[in-house]
């Protein structure tokens, strides 16, 4: 494209990348591509007990699966739910990609995607994801994780951090409106979300979207609570925005916690 100043600029499209005519790959190229694909594979590492159970064909019994994507969502779960120390770490997921930092000794993925199971109610699972899962890994991550869970009467809740800069609205958003929650749920979701539904033309992307897609086509009840914040890093105000979700999660988690507490009270 020529500009008014006579320079020629390459025009890009928001929809498609530059066409590359598919050149025949030679063996070496193909091998490099295969190795790269293998390196980018998502791996699930379960505890020995869970691995044994899965190997013998028994999926994880799960009535509630809570997934936190992002630092504030993960911290919210850590502070309000995981802090009760009634949780076992049962596994983690690793997904190497261009944003994974090479750390000598323990790889940073060790703590970046962890699965917990409630000790008293083992059908309640939590997963905190604070690492970046690349676009080509999202589907695989979701399929591999959900392949390990039994789907009958499964309820999925996803808490997701996102930037308010990505929120599109015709009205001006004043400075005091962020952070706020918006929800998106599958057709199978029968409950009431704790906040307003995500308005057009906004969409959900990343891991929450991959989970919603999977749950929608497999008719699993799922809801995503997207928190729009003007703070990029960990922030207590952003974290607390998820509080209304506790009322929904609480039934399956708190009720057991209450039972434990009342046991002590009786004694």
């Amino acid at each position: 494209m020529a500009t008014f100043f006579g320079e020629v600029l390459s025009v890009y499209s928001r929809a498609v990348e530059e066409d590359d005519d598919e050149l025949d790959e030679n063996e070496e190229d193909e091998q490099i591509r295969r190795e790269l694909e293998e390196k980018r594979e998502v791996h699930l590492h379960w505890s020995p007990e869970v691995s044994e159970s899965l190997k013998s064909g028994n999926k994880l019994q799960c009535s509630n699966f809570v997934l936190a994507v992002g630092q504030n969502a993960s911290s919210f779960l850590s502070v309000h739910i995981l802090s009760t120390a009634n949780w076992d770490t049962i596994g983690r997921a690793s997904a190497w990609n261009e944003r994974s930092r090479a750390v000598t000794g323990q790889s940073c993925e060790e703590s970046a995607c962890v699965f917990y199971r409630h000790k008293d109610n083992p059908t309640v699972l939590i997963c905190q994801v604070s690492c970046y899962v690349a676009e080509d890994q999202l589907f695989q991550w979701t399929e591999k994780v959900f392949d390990c869970l039994q789907h009958r009467e499964l309820n999925v809740t996803v808490l997701s951090d996102t930037s308010v800069a990505d929120y599109k609205t015709a009205d001006y958003l004043g400075g005091s409106s962020a952070p706020f929650l918006r929800s998106l749920h599958t057709s199978a979701f029968g409950d009431q979300p704790v906040c307003q539904s995500l308005e057009q033309p906004n969409i959900v992307t990343g891991l929450p979207a991959a989970v919603l897609n999977h749950c929608q086509v497999h008719r699993i009840s799922a809801v995503v609570y997207q928190c729009y914040s003007d703070v990029i890093g960990p922030d207590s105000v952003t974290m607390e925005t998820y509080k209304p979700v506790l009322t929904k999660l609480g039934r399956s988690i708190q009720s057991n916690t209450m039972r434990v507490i009342s046991r002590y009270v009786i004694w």
Binding site: A15, D136, V204
Partner: protein
Amino acid sequence: MFISSQSSAPSFRDFTLVMPAVAVGNVGQLAVDLIVSTLNMSRVGHIHTDCLIPMAGNDPYASSKEDGEELHTPAEVYAAAELKLAVLQIRAPILQSKTKRFRQLLVSWIKSSGFSRTVVLSSSHAYQRDDQQLQGTPLRYLVTPSLLKGSADALKEMGWREMERVPAFPGLTDGNTEPRLCIPGGGITKGLYTDSCKEDLPLAVLLVFCSEGDNIPDAFALANHLNDWLHLLDDNVSDTTAQH
């Protein structure tokens, strides 16, 4: 692969499939949105694949707030049985490393579903037209040999312009270089077309030359162009947003 959203799998035998290519200006996708909303088509299933970047959103065709809360995924199939029409809408980019596989997936789904013909709505960079393409209509078509057998007369009657083959190296007067098909900015259009020729699928491509910007008028032009052939609506849709 295709997953039905109804209790039983719908039958697409002898249906016409209209689908977009994710291409410059998203014109094909906008045109498909026009078709789905104008004909009030209902969703019958999803194409669930790892080839597309995941996204999710509420119903983009909702007319009221009550209908607004239905989740939509990156690739969905809509149908209008009375018109024997099925429409595939693609809302997300295809992963760069998976374009070939996505084309294979589409070709095998088209074959197994028994569509009588497939129409791909697409677009191509307007700035890369050569001298002859700069003149006249910006709309072009392509048709596989299999579809040409049945539709040659209709296409001739409508006076449509076939997408030109261009020299591989413009300016070089090397007699050995055959003019070839080139659809810059067309995404998987060319690949899908050549695959369909190889597999003997009845497939047509309808594309418009355009640039990035407000591509709504291009979408209307493409949808109306399609309507001239398929007669999905009695009158062509008018672009009420266009300022004359």
